[in-house]
Symmetry: C2
Subunit: 206 residues, 2 copies
């Protein structure tokens, strides 16, 4: 039985969807970012980084979305969430998910988490002003260069899709109109039609 520590609507949503779609035995434990629970002693003992997701397994605790996602796919290969028998295709999947974590998520984070990288209120405001431009540039690059369609990697749904969905669900907050990003917009609607995703979203948002 896995335990997934998550916060509603955070990037942990991607791992949550993957667990559900893999048919993994798991339960979830909600961390309340509004009260700073991610910085509590109890949670830092789970993930010293003070971040979600954290996945508790029989072997130990994993963090970092791309690593957790690939671990879920490898643990439940019948779910077909990654092209595990093809190292090059797996690397393409990992490259996409790494772009999401190291560039797209980071661009978004400058809207509300400027204090990670600066100290002055004026800098936070400057960063926040730039978020619509930087996040849009990321998604335009994704649509023009990386997103094959109808799913990110082509005909087959993969770990890239719930992760892109998760970050795309922040676009409204980032003042980017998703209807101007046709591939992403279409992906969001198709993902939200998946029963596993509907179940997970109900846990996050209802």
């Amino acid at each position: 039985m896995f335990k997934l520590f998550y916060s509603p609507g955070s990037c942990a949503l991607a791992s949550h969807i993957a667990l559900e779609e893999a048919g993994a035995p798991y339960k979830t434990i909600r961390i309340d970012f509004n009260t700073g629970e991610q910085r509590s002693t109890d949670f830092l003992a789970i993930n010293p980084k003070g971040r979600v997701p954290a996945l508790v397994t029989e072997r130990g605790i994993l963090s970092e979305t791309p690593a957790i996602l690939l671990f879920i796919a490898q643990s439940f290969p019948k779910a077909g969430l990654a092209p595990l028998d093809d190292p090059f295709a797996t690397a393409q999947l990992q490259a996409f998910n790494n772009y999401l974590c190291s560039t797209v998520h980071v661009a978004h984070a400058h809207g509300g988490r400027g204090s990670r990288w600066a100290d002055e209120e004026a800098s936070f405001a400057d960063m926040k002003r730039k978020v619509p431009k930087t996040v849009r540039a990321c998604f335009e690059l994704i649509e023009s260069e990386m997103f094959i369609g109808p799913w990110v990697l082509g005909e087959t749904y993969s770990l890239c899709d719930p992760y892109l969905y998760t970050i795309a669900s922040w676009l409204q907050r980032d003042s980017v109109d998703v209807t101007t990003l046709p591939k992403t917009h279409s992906l969001m609607r198709r993902i939200e039609a998946r029963p596993a995703v509907r179940k997970v979203l109900a846990d996050h948002f209802e």
Copy 2:
């Protein structure tokens, strides 16, 4: 024959070391960041992100260090660069490398690349002032919580080591004294003693 696009001393160093240690057939192509070659039409056709590393393979082009590193390990399994037969151990390796790309490299980048996330000179200066603190915090967390020793994952050298080495090689520029980080300091000296690494460093710095 692989082709690795790199810039001297950039994060592409990690992939370069891994290719050399794997015994892979490869050649390198240097991109001159001083003249902005990474934004040239020719290079954007290789990697539309305008970043290094980019690895040209027979199947296509890969980017993003953690993805490239795992692909090299999977393509040359005899080199033993990753615990490929153990999905949990591989996930731990990937989690470490993902922390490097999404948090540590990003913390460093605020020293010289503030224009990625803000527009005002005052913001760039504010970000730059904070780099020694944020980068140090990352390395202290690595030493206290992630780095088993003597190599990152314990007794066995892995893909984590050249990647940590690469980012640690920026510590002086980030005004962090590596001699105050004993595990990292020791790792740097042991990595620099490896013949394959010496050969790669000569290409970058001589």
